[in-house]
Structures are given as structure tokens and as C-alpha cells.
């Protein structure tokens, strides 16, 4: 029973490890991150099969052990010896680790206490437990010394500074590799109805929930303005729209997206927004801001 129990425990632990690694691996593979129910059902099914496999394995081992023991017993009888079952390595190990007085001899360590029929034995503290306790105490002392007396390891704010500095270096390296993207800014940007860029922009628009303020079809709602009409609060045309998306209008609730996405993504979504002009949203919001025509029209040609 005890064996079965530890096996069950083992299965439980490895099962959770399995589930975890599965979750980890699946993440980059599914950037949309919508883990479907079938994904989890499959994982659960695999887990159940795994448990069953372990159970079968254990049962087989036990049967094998039993047969072996019977065989040994027969041999011993045939040889005319009394059969003494050998202690398994596990039994020997636990005996050593726990240093327990065997059940048969427990009368020798009875405390003589009797509380409503409950008696108490005076077994030693299990050596493994005792040493484990000592080790954790020593570990605790070392931890405090390392972090607070010798300052050998970074505390949380130092850790943070290092993390940010590393990211910054990585970003600079990346920018150096992509001069074209780095050069993107509103002064030189020109709109063209490039279907590929607009398609990517549409994804950016959806993924970042721009629709929560501007409507999923760009028609606006009581939060944000309509993006399909030629009226603009902060200027129309690719240069202004790109600028508004990149730096935001923070006091009015428009975030500075340039801080949260790559400059190419900003360009893509700006292109997508411009491509919306003239489309027919379901519930268009009344125009806000000033009519803007010249540049957009010219560019669109």
C-alpha cells in the first residue's frame, strides 16, 4: 500500500510536470493564444493514459516480485532450508533513513502515556528529517548573509535595473540591424494603398483592441472618434495619423502605441486606418474635428 501510494505520488508529480512543459512549449507555437478546449482535452487525455500506464507498470512489477519470491521459497524448501525473505533495497534504505524501532519491538520504547486510550512511542527523530531541518536553517542563514550582509547578489531593484539595461542593449542592436525600420518617421512617410501592409495593420488593429474605443469597424463609439470619415481631431493624412498613434493623445485616453509596439506595426496600423476612409460602418459616430482632404486625396491617387 505504501509503495502504491508513493507511486501514485510520483505519477501525480510527473503528471503536473508534463502538463507544465506542454503548456510552455505550446505558447510560442500558438501566438494567437486561444488555447482551445480540444487542446486541454487532449492534454488531459494524455495525462490519464500516462497515469494508467504507470499503474499497469507498478502492478506488473509487483506480480513479478511475488512470483520471484515464490520461486525462491520453493528453491529454499527443496534445499531443505528455511526461507528468509530478503529485505528490498527500498526497505533497507527507509530503515536507515528513519531509524525507527521495528513494529514488533515497539513495546521497548513505549512512553507509558495513556490519553483516552492513545499511547505514545519514543522513536528517534528520523535522521533524514533532522538533517534536512538543519540544512534549511543553514541555508536561511547563508541567504541572509549573501543578500544583506555581503550584498553579493542583487536585490529586486538592482535586478530590475539589470533587466532593463539588457533589454535596452538588445533593442539597440536590433535597431542597428534594421536601418529601414529605424528610419521610419512621420516626416518622410508616404501613404500607399499597399494591400499587404494594410492587411498587417488590420491584424494589429484587432489584436490591440483598438475597436474598444473606435468600434471594430472603425465607426467610433461614445469613447473614441469615427475613423472612416474625413474629419480628424488631430489632423488627417498619414503623417498626422502616424504621429497620433505613435505618441498618443494621452490626456484624452489615446495611448502612445509607439512605446508598446514596433514602429513598423505603428506604420501598418496607420495605413489600415487611412484605408478605412469612405467605408460604411454599421453605426458611424458623428464627425468630430476638422475636415481634412488635400493630402489624403492626393496620396490616394
Amino acid at each position: 500500500m505504501k509503495k502504491l501510494f508513493s507511486a501514485f505520488l510520483l505519477a501525480f508529480i510527473s503528471l503536473s510536470c508534463l502538463a507544465q512543459s506542454a503548456a510552455k512549449e505550446s505558447l510560442p507555437a500558438t501566438p494567437s493564444a486561444s488555447h482551445s478546449l480540444s487542446y486541454y482535452v487532449t492534454i488531459s487525455f494524455a495525462a490519464v493514459v500516462f497515469i494508467l500506464f504507470i499503474v499497469v507498470l507498478i502492478t506488473l512489477t509487483r506480480v513479478l516480485n511475488l512470483l520471484m519470491r515464490q520461486l525462491e521459497k520453493q528453491r529454499a524448501e527443496a534445499a531443505g532450508k528455511t526461507y528468509v525473505p530478503q529485505l528490498s533495497w527500498w526497505a533497507k534504505l527507509t530503515q536507515q533513513l528513519n531509524d525507527a524501532v521495528p513494529v514488533e519491538q515497539e513495546g521497548t520504547i513505549e512512553m507509558g502515556h495513556d490519553y483516552d486510550g492513545i499511547r505514545e512511542l519514543d522513536n528517534h527523530l528520523p535522521p533524514w528529517w533532522k538533517w534536512f531541518f538543519y540544512i534549511t536553517i543553514v541555508w536561511g542563514a547563508i541567504y541572509l548573509v549573501v543578500y544583506h550582509l555581503t550584498d553579493s547578489l542583487p536585490l529586486m531593484h538592482q535586478e530590475y535595473d539589470t533587466e532593463v539595461a539588457q533589454a535596452k542593449t538588445a533593442q539597440q542592436k536590433l535597431a542597428a540591424l534594421q536601418p529601414a525600420a529605424a528610419a521610419l518617421d512621420e516626416s518622410t512617410l508616404v501613404y500607399s494603398p499597399d494591400a499587404i501592409i494594410i492587411g498587417r495593420g488590420k491584424e494589429v488593429f484587432a489584436k490591440n483592441a483598438c475597436g474598444s474605443c473606435h468600434g471594430n469597424d472603425g465607426g467610433g463609439n461614445s469613447i473614441g472618434p469615427n475613423l472612416t470619415d474625413p474629419y480628424w481631431l488631430h489632423g488627417g493624412g498619414i503623417k498626422n495619423v502616424f504621429h497620433t498613434i505613435k505618441d498618443g493623445v494621452v490626456e484624452k485616453g489615446m495611448p502612445a502605441w509607439g512605446k508598446a509596439m514596433s514602429i513598423t506595426d505603428v506604420r501598418d496600423v496607420a495605413f489600415f486606418v487611412l484605408s478605412l476612409e469612405g467605408t460604411k460602418p454599421a453605426n458611424p459616430k458623428a464627425p468630430q474635428g476638422e475636415l481634412y482632404k488635400s493630402e489624403t486625396k492626393a496620396e490616394k491617387k
Binding site: M1, L9, S34, Y40, V103, D116, R119, D122, L174
Partner: protein, 709 residues
Amino acid sequence: MELQKFYYDNKIVKAFYIATVVFGLVGMLVGLTAAIQLFYPIFNFNLQYTTFGRIRPLHTNAIIFAFVGNAIFGAVYYSLQRLLKTRMFSDLLSWVHFWGWQLIILAAAITLPLGFTTSKEYAELEWPIDIAITIVWVIFGINMIGTILRRRERHMYVAIWFYLATFVTVAVLHIVNSFEIPVTFFKSYSWYAGVQDALVQWWYGHNAVAFFLTTPFLGMMYYYLPKAANRPVYSYKLSIIHFWSLIFIYIWAGPHHLLYTSLPDWAQSLGTVFSIMLIAPSWGGALNGLMTLRGAWDRVREDPVLKFIVVAITAYSMAVLEGPLLSLKNVNAITHFTDWIVAHVHLGALGWNGFLVFAVLYWTIPRMWNTTLYSKKMANAHFWLGTLGIIFYALPMYVSGLTQSLMWKEFNADGFLVYKNFLETTVAILPLHMLRAIGGSLYLTGFILMTYNLIKTAYAGKFIANEEAQAAPLAKEYVATSGGWHYRVLENKPILFTVLSLVAILIGGIVEMVPTFLIKSNVPTISSVKPYSPLELHGRDIYIREGCVGCHTQMVRPFRSETERYGEYSKAGEFVYDHPFLWGSKRTGPDLARVGGKYSNSWHYNHLLAPDAVSTGSIMPSYPWLFEQTINLDLTAGKINALRKIGVPYAENYEATANEDLKKQATEITSSLKADGIETPSDAEIVAVIAYLQRLGKDIKAEKVAEQP
């Protein structure tokens, strides 16, 4: 010596056990409702009284204080009498204790859905109820210690040590954490602010787990396990060592709930190291329990009571290893604020507490009714349903916690967050939330089966209200026998024992709290941080009332993934006027510490009215009542006065003019909403909530502006 005849009081035990079962059912049903709301938000029926924020504390309080609480009292009253060979000290006190506790539960069941809450986890009940708890708890203590003083057994068994430690520690925890200044009969502000409030709260919260869910249960294990297995306790030495080390070390570990927050580093480190040192003392109890079963493992297969106990102890051993591992900085960085913690606590609650209570009930009820269990088969079915329930609950939550955390932290090659939109990470784990609800339902089904089984058992037998027993009285002279110094010196001196346990549990708390309160460098001040305006204060109180803190944290941790998503990490000085602190412990929704100015007023208006319409797929409930209910201006002055008394620097006589400021700020918001085509009365609660949300994180931005020129 002549034997004396006396009677054990079973009637009080029966009352506590009936309450245990009834509140277990209620608490789990509320839990299941909350679980369903997390993937199907309309399951609150659009009522304010059943929204997640209000019923989550109802669930936790019902399970901890009603279900587990009544079970503890029942088990203590049953075992204490028998271990000391005497009836309870006073029947009157027993019944005052019983009815007092049930009235407190009733008060909680009424006030929590109404939104009367302090917002401090597991200490949500408002100040009049806090006082009632203190009184009833002291009555319990007097009754218990009185019984010990009238004992016929010279020495106290290990179970009683744990009961005594439970009594003194819970009293200290409850009183210190409940220091609050009343505003009205159902509204108060925590005495402590910000970082200090957080430290006190998690010293309390962590040790509520230790001294309400652990030590009394170890005491129960020490009585019921050897009784049910009919085996001697494995090691008396181990009992002594693990008892003292457990209660001494446990109290220090509270700050592990606040790793990577604005709590000073030294306090965080103490939380970590003491958590690791706690593994062995915790395992000591489990070890002593499991080793006691040596020579009885064949019976574990047959006896449902032993089966429940074994799984309970196993769940305990796993949870007390997992907890310290979660206190390691690198693990905590991943798991904190996620579903992992939900899995962890439920492994403890469903496995350790639930299963041990079931074992106790299955063992005691047939004995008190002088019969045998109605159906062993049904008890076995309950065992398997419960075990499956735990697995189906915990595994999906582990996966869910890890999935969400990895998504929060994932950067793309350009150095930007892959999942900028928090909602994506919420939607990804909804299927796992569904699986969790299935796990919970399985567990609840088992519980219902047990209820039926126990009722049938009781009907089949005859209740023994007063159980006859005999024992010799204590001799006047104490003749010291062997049994070790602990036995001779301490175990026959209940008062000394209680005082020593009190000393043991006070040390950790004092070392951590006193410096945090007295040394200024622990909470560096930020000059731009100002008290809340009256309107924001009303908004904050509504935020507290609605239990927003149940799903939204206000603590940006110092990780790049968090500062990219939310803004600058939180500083200790930002919270100096936060009575109570609202850091939260779980991010079902995004952090709000820096939400001020991030969205427009109209965004918040629309979002609170219909979250799903603004953020498609959101599982946040809608709050239509905020648009109908109005702010109570009569309370403004009382709030200002109360806060000034505990150190918030409102100018003298400000309460007289506060409402003018309030109206001015409200009009600013309503006119900004009007510009977006939204008409709303300026005294609607939503205006106050918007004012509060727009304030969050603004102070520190103001400092930046001031520094620049």
C-alpha cells in the same frame, strides 16, 4: 483512589457538527457559483449582491470560519473532554460560544453581499463583527482553559498543545489586524496604511492559514488518527520538536505574500528564509501521522476514515512543501498573482482541511449515535469523488496559472510584449476555469453524498447526549515520574505552557513589524503624494465595497514585463494614505496601480456599464447599479475626520468645505462625459469611481513633471 463518575457533553459537539455540514454545503455552493462566474459572468444574475467581488469573500469566510471553524470547535469539544477525563468547564459558555459563533456567521452572510467589507483578506468583516468575534473567541478560550484546569488527567496530550497555541495566536492575530477607526456602524478604515497595512494583513493572513487551518487540524489529527488506527503515536520526541519549531517559525513567514512588492527587501528575505525553514517542522506533523499508521496500512484499504486521513495528510505534506517553494524569489516571480496560488490553497483546503473533517465526521457520528455507519460503500464513493475533485480542481489551475504568467511575461524579438492586451491572457485560460468548476462540482457531489450518509446513520441510531465515563481525580501531590523534562516541567502546567507559546509566536511578528513602523527609511516619502480628494475617497470606498481588489491588483512589481505593461513599478511612499492598502493578491484582470489617465472618462463609463461591449470577451461583470445609486454626501465629513485621526493630513476644518470640492470635481467629470455625448447626474456613484480610477498612479507622474524644469 476512588473513581468518579461524570458525563461527556455530546450535545454541543452535535450542534457544531450540524453547523459544519450546513455551512460546508453553503460555502462550497457559493464557491462553485463564483467559479462559474469566472467564465460565464452573467451567472451573477446582474445583481450587485451576487457579483464576484462580493461573493468571493463570502466563499472564503464561509469555508474558513463557518465550515472549518465549526469543525474545529466540534472536534475540540469532543476530544478535549476525553483527553482530560472531564466534562467541559461550563455548559453555558459552550452554548454561548456556539450561538455566538453562528450569529457571527449570519452577520457575515448578510453584510458581505451588502458590500460591508474592510477588503482585508479573510478579515473582511466590519468592526462590530470584529468585536463580536473577539468576545466569542475569548469565551471559547475561557471554556477550554477552564476545562484544562479541571482535568482528571495530569498531563496534556500533544493535541491540546496545538489547541492552546491556536487559541492564543488567533486572538493576537485578530486583534492586531483588526485595528480600525469606525466611520459609521458598518464602515471603518484600517488603522495602518500602505506598506504597514500590507505587512500586518499578510502576517495575519498567512498565520490565519497557520493557526486556523493548520495547528487545530494537527491537534485533530493527533487525536483521531491514533484512535481510528488504534496504533500508538510514532514519536513523542518528534511531537515536541515539531510543535515548538512550527509555531515559532510559522509566524515569520507572512512577508512571502509580498515578494517583489514595495515591502522593504529585508522583510521579504525574512519571509523567504523562514518559509524554507518551515518545511521540516510542517513535515514533522505529517511524518508523525503517517508513521503512526505503521502496522495498520492493511486497514487503510478497508476503512474509509483512514483513507480520508491518509489523503488529507498527503495533501498537507504537498501543500507545505509547495508553499515554501512559492516563497523562493524566482518561483514567486512566476506564480504570484496567478491561478497557481488558487490551486495551492485549494490543495490545502479541499485536501487537508476538507478530508480531515470528513474523516472526523465519519468516525464520530456513528459513535455519538451508538451505531455503525449507514453505508461504507457510499463513504468510499465520496472518497473517490473527493479525490477526483481535488485533482480536477488543482491540475487545471496549475496549468492556467503558468500559462497566464508566461503570457504576461513574453516579449517578442523587437522587445515588445507579445500579449499587450491583457484580455488575451484571460481568454486563453477560460477552458481551464471550466475544468476547475467541474472539479469543484465533483467534490461538492461527494459532500452531498456524505451528508445523506450521515443523516441516515443518525436516524438508525440513538443519540447519546451525555456519555458516561469514570476516572480518578487528580492527586493533590504531583509525583514526578519519568517521561522527560518536557513532560514533567511543561505538560502539567497549562498556564505556563500557554504563556510560553504566546512568547514563541510574538517574536517573529515583533521583529518584522516594529522596524517597519518605526524606521522611516523603510517607507521613503514622496512629496507629490497627496491625500485623496473627497470624491476620490468616495470612489475608493465604492471600489472596496464592490470587491474590485478580488481581481485587480494595485502593485506594479519591479519586472520589465510589468513596467512595460503598466508603467513604473510601485514605490512604498505612494501608499502612505491608503487605509486600507489595496494591493490585492490575484490578477484575474489587469493591475490598476497606474490606470489613472490611461483611458478617457467615457471609456471608464462605458466599460463599467458593459465591459464586454468595450473589451470583447471580457469576463468582468457589469455594474449597472453604480449608475443609479448616488453618493452619500452626509458621510464625507465623517470620512475626512476619521482619516485625519489616523494621520492623513487633511487641513483643519476641511470637512466643512469638502463637499464643495467634491461637487466641483464631479461637475468636471460629468461635463467631460457630456462632451462625449454621455449625460449622467453628478451625484451618481459612477462619477466617484471614475474620479478614483483616474487618480491612481497620478501622484508619481506629478512628481516627474515637477522634477523636469
